[in-house]
Symmetry: D2
């Protein structure tokens, strides 16, 4: 009997430093090794590094693209969803993910963190990502810090088990 | 090297007769046997029969759901996309599919046929589906009739090869 | 006490002949003279002619645009809604309208007719528009023919009264 | 000759204290007195207080609603846009507004602030709203503080002049 796959979202900037690129790759790899599916915005930077980590380890990678064109996806997306909704696709990334792992990024990443918390999804944030607990009252049970890939993916999977 | 999967959309009514249920199952099965991915609206009727045909034959099934709730998916969806966009999700079904196979259905199905032709995608229509070539000028190269599952999936795959 | 305005949608092709241009202008004019608001897709052809008819007669014109850019609106739009959703904005035109008046058009227009009937809204169709009652079972109470502007707007307003 | 109206967005929580309720009313009032149109999410709290301020002073109020139902709008919305997109309508509030004024709110408000800055729109933030400049590098020219209604609306209008 087929069943729904666990889907983990990875969000973060389209331009990142080498350290975060390596970390995003590891996160994608651990997602695939745990037989979960990776969903992301389908473009470069954090998205591409994580997609590569998942795809090179046998995982499926859903890319929810801002444009209508599947060719805009990074080379590691196996299932492109070309929304044609621009930044509005961020809502769909959040809704498709059962839980999200947030890397450093700009306002687009911040919007995804906020949308995820708005709909009651857990956000695991990596060092340097938006730490909104510093500026507002954030439900601690939904907003958790992680420092490496196994911890991030482990916390993510654990949050889904307890959905 | 991973690469993008071919994605075939199956559209049609949420209430169907036994004959179309069997035909939709066969279409889903042939999609899976050809290693393509099935995308549909994720609910019952044509969508569920095709999903079952794909899932029971090892295929992946993307369900682009109107609600925000993954539990609204039929039991054969493996990758649920809970859009929360209601009937607006029809646009995403059309954009995600590389080509569509249309079964009999109501206005929702008609909207998907129209949206697909609007964005230049091929629609293979099964007997009894909306035959809009009877009421307007339809580009013949995009609107093709099929009578059984192997023919429908074959025409669909062939249209993607020539994209 | 302020209250919600009646909103009438006008849909149809972005390229039209002179006769339909004049007719769309008259429809827009009668919408404005009846103190209703016009909503349309905000671009050229039927949309622009109707927008002009409304705007030149003191009406407000909501243009629900496919692009993110308000400058893409025709010159008679007073309230632009730049969705950035491409053809997906058709769903929003249909939802914003209390009732729709359909002119001849291509698949985009057909998708709007189908979406409107799907959500249970009345569609008044002008001569030459998609007459889907010829190819399927259409609820006659929602799909009505009109031949001139006063009749179209009158039928539209009357359908809203009985909502 | 008709022309596009200036549209100012007001965002903030659906539950607010009396002080912010009064302040939001004043902001709505000043928007109307300056002949601009108010756009908001159409529901209660900050949205309703600002809508009331605008509507009671002769202004038009566009409410971009999460549901498909115009009856879900607060009583001061004159032009309801029932998107049926849930929290996804936040993107449309941001795109419709030429500039936004942010009151205190929860994650939904934060998502709108982030989306606005992402698409390059000015956000005027009132005391107690999300001050994201404390946790990230925010382009100072797009993120401005205001302390009362005339200042907020003045800064908003001024930012549009220099678009």
């Amino acid at each position: 009997m087929p069943k729904q796959k666990t889907i983990i979202g990875v969000i973060g900037g389209s331009a990142i430093d080498e350290k975060n690129q390596a970390l995003a790759y590891e996160v994608g790899k651990h997602i695939a090794l745990n037989k979960a599916i990776l969903v992301c915005g389908g473009l470069g930077g954090v998205m591409e590094a994580a997609s590569r980590g998942a795809a090179e380890n046998g995982g499926h990678v859903v890319g929810i693209l801002p444009s209508e064109d599947k060719n805009s996806a990074n080379p590691f997306i196996t299932i492109p969803i070309p929304t044609g909704m621009g930044i509005g696709r961020n809502v769909l990334v959040v809704r498709t993910a059962d839980v999200l792992i947030a890397f450093p990024g700009s306002y687009g990443t911040l919007s995804e963190v906020a949308l995820a918390l708005n709909v009651g999804k857990t956000v695991i944030y990596m060092p340097g990502s938006w730490n909104i607990s510093k500026i507002g009252q954030v439900s601690s049970s939904l907003f958790k810090e992680a420092f490496d890939a196994p911890q991030a993916v482990g916390l993510a999977l654990n949050s889904v088990i307890h959905l």
